[in-house]
């Protein structure tokens, strides 16, 4: 009955209570949303590459090498020579090696030159392989295999021609050598979705008539002639390496890092990812702190509304006192009321979060290539909700103590 009366009292003040609950709900949604995006981003990053033991590239920062080779974020400052690549490929420890050549783009999407082995060796989300949803993997020199997002965004179908632009965000296009889309990959939730994949030779082919980043005036070699050429690349951006045994990873890594002919860097993707988290960690903590502060603000707002309601509710409290309620019942009712508000707010926040995720999931995916899974709340999230409710109850003790004192002094007679 007391609970019913407390709820009735809340309903009687529906508007202010609704505002308070909404503030708590939004703050909880923000906090949990940040959590979701954070863990989703981490999981998404961690899922992007699996099965690759080492990534080899020109000497640079390990995080940078990881970012440009796997996530297509930033650019390579240097390439590694084809000789080095071949040398490493010939090592005993190496089980397989896949070269990657980046640098060109198609519209907003990166073009990556690689070998057909990439489609067998590249694994994502704990060992899943790439699969073609339409058409087939490129076979011809001028074939291109495109990621799901490329196809979707640009409305491409198998058989369509595409033109590759030189460099990134460049206006000079390799118009002489149009490519044909041979296949479209299934959605992976990795940067592959936003990549146009061509053969390593194709990257060379489109640069036949180019020197130092510009087309040689008047020179345009016909495609048939290009086909006859030796299209061995002089350099590649990076290489993905698989070793024969787990134990050989570190030996191979050390020997590549000590490679005397050329400054090279070999990284373990997992370790580089950890380094990345350390860098991002500070921003993460700041983000969590800010969204935590928003919850605190909402709870203080609730405390303020309870405080301001006390005066108009002196009559109500006097009636309870006259009917035999001890002051501590008044205290308990106010704390209960706050806990109910916080609980409704927390649950509403959770509901809003899931609604928001449901709506925003495809948008975030297409905008940032970040797939945030819609999972049931984790234990950690449940604890966040419980903490919010408890914090609401604790915060409300401040006005509740005041109400306790007021009802002791007023007794059952209120002179207003």
């Amino acid at each position: 009955m007391i609970l019913r009366l407390a709820l009735g009292s809340l309903l009687a003040r529906a508007l202010t209570v609704a505002m308070t609950v909404l503030a708590i709900a939004l703050s909880v949604m923000l906090f949990l949303g940040v959590e979701k995006v954070r863990t989703g981003a981490k999981a998404s990053f961690a899922d992007t590459i699996s099965g690759t033991d080492l990534i080899v590239g020109a000497r640079t920062g390990s995080v940078q090498l990881l970012l440009y080779s796997v996530f297509r974020i930033g650019n390579a400052t240097n390439n590694m020579t084809w000789e080095s690549y071949q040398d490493i490929a010939a090592r005993d420890a190496v089980d397989w090696i896949v070269p990657i050549s980046l640098g060109d783009s198609h519209r907003q999407f990166r073009v990556m030159g690689t070998t057909s082995e990439f489609f067998q060796r590249y694994k994502y989300r704990s060992g899943q392989s790439l699969a073609v949803s339409d058409g087939e993997v490129m076979d011809d020199l001028f074939d291109a295999t495109i990621g799901a997002d490329v196809a979707e965004t640009l409305g491409y179908n198998v058989g369509d021609p595409i033109v590759v632009a030189h460099g990134l965000a460049s206006f000079s296009e390799h118009e002489d050598q149009p490519f044909r889309i041979s296949g479209i990959l299934e959605k992976t939730g990795t940067p592959v979705d936003r990549t146009v994949i061509v053969s390593l030779e194709a990257i060379e082919a489109i640069h036949v008539d180019w020197r130092s980043g510009a087309q040689i005036p008047g020179q345009s070699t016909p495609a048939d002639a290009i086909r006859q050429m030796e299209l061995q690349p002089a350099a590649i951006t990076a290489a993905l390496v698989g070793v024969k045994g787990r134990l050989q990873v570190f030996g191979l890594q050390r020997s590549i890092n000590d490679y005397v002919e050329e400054p090279l860097l070999a990284i373990l993707p997992g370790v580089a990812l950890q380094e990345l988290w350390q860098i991002v960690g500070i921003a993460e903590t700041a983000l969590i702190a800010v969204s935590g502060m928003v919850i605190v603000t909402a709870l203080i707002g609730m405390m303020a509304t309870i405080f301001s309601s006390l005066n108009e509710r002196r009559r109500e409290m006097a009636i309870f006192r006259a009917m035999g309620a001890r002051p501590r019942v008044i205290f308990a009712m106010l704390v209960l009321e706050a806990a109910v508000m916080a609980a409704i707010g927390a649950l509403l926040g959770l509901i809003l979060l899931y609604l928001g995720l449901y709506v925003a999931q495809p948008l975030i995916d297409s905008a940032f290539g970040l797939w945030i899974p819609i999972d049931p709340p984790t234990l950690r999230e449940v604890w966040v909700l419980i903490t919010v409710i408890l914090a609401g109850a604790i915060v409300s003790m401040v006005p509740a103590i005041r109400a306790y004192r007021m009802s002791l002094a007023d007794g059952m007679m209120v002179r207003i």
Partner: protein
């Protein structure tokens, strides 16, 4: 109902040598040498505003405690009880009706009537079926049955006072204290209100103490006490 044999020698309410001084206001003191109410009596306590009526009611209900003297309700000296016990004791022994704003406006009529039982387990035990009893009291007090589920805030003032009376009567406490319950009602409603209240209180030999400044109501009561005759208030410069 357990004590059908009238024990008239034990007053339901008795005040002896009570002195009460408002804390922090040394200039105001209330003295009540003696006052007693027998079981089943209906008593009108007349006094002008500022005569110490409210203080006297607070003393009887135990929300304030006299510095000296004895306030006995149903044989118990309430100043001997801890403040928590006094709250429970008040709920058990006294039905209260105020001048106005008696009810929780957001709660249903039924919840308002049943509220004192929540804090008075013994009083609740005397009511076999609280919901039926609330219904019975309402119909006896002339309130329509379908009002029970209504929000109290939607009732007229006269109806609200009757609901307050039903709340005071439920579980048959030995004493009903009413603080100017009729002052917000018009003359005809006043008489009707007292009629239904007394009909119920007499049926259960409940004592009714009503405080008012309105002498016109006097002939409906068994006894009239002028507050000036039993109590002395002192106001001076300390």
């Amino acid at each position: 109902m357990t004590n059908l044999a009238p024990v008239l020698e034990v007053p339901v309410l008795e005040l002896n040598d009570v002195r009460y001084r408002w804390p922090g206001r040394a200039s105001f003191e209330l003295q009540v040498p003696h006052m007693a109410l027998a079981q089943g009596e209906t008593v009108l306590l007349l006094g002008e505003s500022g005569s110490g009526k409210s203080t006297l009611l607070s003393l009887i209900c135990g929300t304030v405690v006299a510095q000296s003297g004895v306030v006995r309700v149903a044989g118990t000296d309430i100043s001997s009880l801890s403040s928590g016990k006094r709250d429970r004791f008040r709920a058990e022994q006294i039905g209260l009706i105020f001048q106005q704003f008696n009810l929780l406006p957001f709660a249903s009529v039924q919840d308002n009537i049943l509220l004192p039982l929540r804090f008075a387990p013994d009083r609740a035990k005397r009511v076999a079926s609280p919901v039926d009893e609330a219904d019975r009291l309402c119909s006896d007090l002339g309130l329509p049955h379908d009002l029970l589920g209504a929000r109290s805030g939607t009732l007229s003032v006269g109806q609200q006072q009757r609901v307050a009376a039903a709340r005071a009567l439920i579980g048959t406490p030995p004493l009903i204290v009413a603080d100017e319950p009729t002052s917000s009602l018009d003359a005809a409603t006043q008489v009707a209100f007292l009629d239904v209240l007394f009909a119920q209180s007499r049926a259960h030999t409940t004592t009714v103490l009503m405080v008012s400044h309105d002498a016109r109501l006097a002939d409906q009561f068994d006894r009239v006490i002028q507050i000036a005759d039993i109590a002395k208030t002192t106001r001076g410069i300390a």
